[in-house]
Amino acid sequence: MLMQLYRGLPALIAITLLLLGWETYARLSGISPTMLPAPSRVIEQAWIYRQPLWENTLPTIRATVFGFACSLAVAFLLSVLVDFFNPLRRALFPIFIISQTLPLVAIAPLVVLWFGFGLAPKILLVALVTFFPMLVALTQGYQSTEEEIEQLLASMGAPKWKCFLLARLPSALPYFFAGLRISITYAVVGAIFAEYAGAAKGLGIYILNAKNNFRPDLVLAAVLVSAVLTLVLFGLTLLIQRLAMPWTRSSLGSGR
């Protein structure tokens, strides 16, 4: 525990210095707080407006989690299908790659137009940005299976599906979690963007309103909340990984 604190120390110092610099500049240069508010003011305002901030964070969390869960489920199912039927992969992957080139600024308003201000368009947009990275991570993970392990299982008479469960799926876990960590940050950004394009409540719409009211301090307060949200989700994936892959930690002692 102490060890982990120690390893986090450089990052902590860097962030503190950055904030100090910002604070000093904002105070000494005489720049207007409607242009660049000092960090202290952002935190102060975040505290004052904690009630509305919280009320707007909940829908964002909901959109992120639902959207990501849907995307994960579909990505997993599809990855399995693609692993068993290779032609499917050649048929579908080009479509998915194209889906990744769509600019979110253009798609988000359209999706809101088609599906309204409810949860559906948010789920869709979150899924759009997270689905492909997860699919790629999973298929790559399956392919990383050691050839000799598969040869061994084949020699034992394991049918293809057993080989998948016993070897390919566990081999994909490190890739899966790497993909998960990247996607979860995309998911938050995707949800906020979807709300920005149109929503009744949410961090995205809150940011839009604060901007229109010339309150950059509240914009930054909302950004702070979204950053904390992302970090919490990120930490959660690390925790799940440690629980799901116990063999990666026992080997080199507990000091890691």
Binding site: Q151, A154, G157, L166, P170, L173, P246, W247, S251
Partner: protein, 256 residues
């Protein structure tokens, strides 16, 4: 009425893409025989096992098992890959029961079969460890244990003792010879180690460098269990030297 050989290879050739690896391999293994394949690195010894486990199709020739064409799907072999192919996500005990689980035994039953053998393999106390916590030699012993508990009609061992120190290796030779005599296994062993081949085999096939063909067949009619003492020991040493001459001969010719 003669019993057919357990395994018969007839004029086998095999290649990867445009790299021809095996040129002309014919060999016969009768039930209960211990046969070794000895050859330089890269000759195609592991490739030979790939043909037997069905991971690769021969480009020419026939493989007969008990008199009929080999059906790799019926998995008549217990195969030990060159790199141990232990699954990093399974504890040692669960790695050793893998073959039994694939055969459909319950986890509990499989463990009951394997547990008594841990002492003999020098793995007592490591049942619950992950493979990453074991030394190279221990990993090989675990892989060998995983192989022999499968109780198949023939063993395929690809350099099973490569990572062991000389002393442990000699001990494992003695152990394997004892087990083989007791269980009347049919065994095919791939090795670099001439002494190992001479100690364990009824017959040795010596391969040429790639593309491999068989340059010599050496019968070893020494009494069992074999020891390094007395007249039999001297005879074993003589055979070892003769084989080394064969293996080294062509190389000397090339380099001069």
């Amino acid at each position: 009425m003669t019993i057919p050989p357990r395994l018969e290879l007839k004029a086998i050739a095999a290649s990867y893409a445009d790299l021809q690896v095996l040129q002309d391999i014919s060999l016969t293994i009768r039930p209960g025989e211990f046969v070794s394949i000895l050859g330089p690195s890269g000759a195609g010894k592991s490739t030979l096992f790939r043909l037997l486990t069905g991971a690769l199709k021969p480009s020419r020739g026939d493989i007969l098992f008990d008199g009929s064409p080999l059906d790799t799907a019926s998995s008549p072999f217990a195969f030990m890959p060159q790199r141990d192919a232990l699954m990093p996500w399974r504890r040692i005990i669960d790695n050793t029961t893998l073959g039994l689980e694939v055969q459909g035994l319950s986890r509990r039953e499989a463990r009951k079969r394997v547990e008594p053998l841990f002492a003999e393999f020098g793995l007592t106390g490591f049942e619950q460890h992950y493979p990453s916590a074991l030394s190279g030699g221990m990993r090989q012993r675990a892989a060998l244990l995983r192989t022999v508990v499968q109780d198949r009609s023939m063993l395929l061992l690809d350099e099973p003792f490569g990572a062991l120190d000389a002393l442990t290796r000699a001990g494992m030779h003695r152990w394997l010879e004892g087990m083989w005599m007791r269980h009347q296994w049919t065994a095919m062993l791939v090795t670099h180690d001439v002494r190992e081949a001479v100690h364990l085999s009824d017959r040795i096939y010596v391969l040429s460098p790639r593309p491999a063909s068989i340059v010599e067949v050496v019968d070893i009619p020494l009494p069992r269990p074999r020891s390094r003492k007395g007249a039999a020991g001297a005879e074993a040493a003589r055979i070892e030297n003769a084989i080394l001459e064969t293996l080294l001969g062509p190389h000397e010719g090339q380099s001069s």
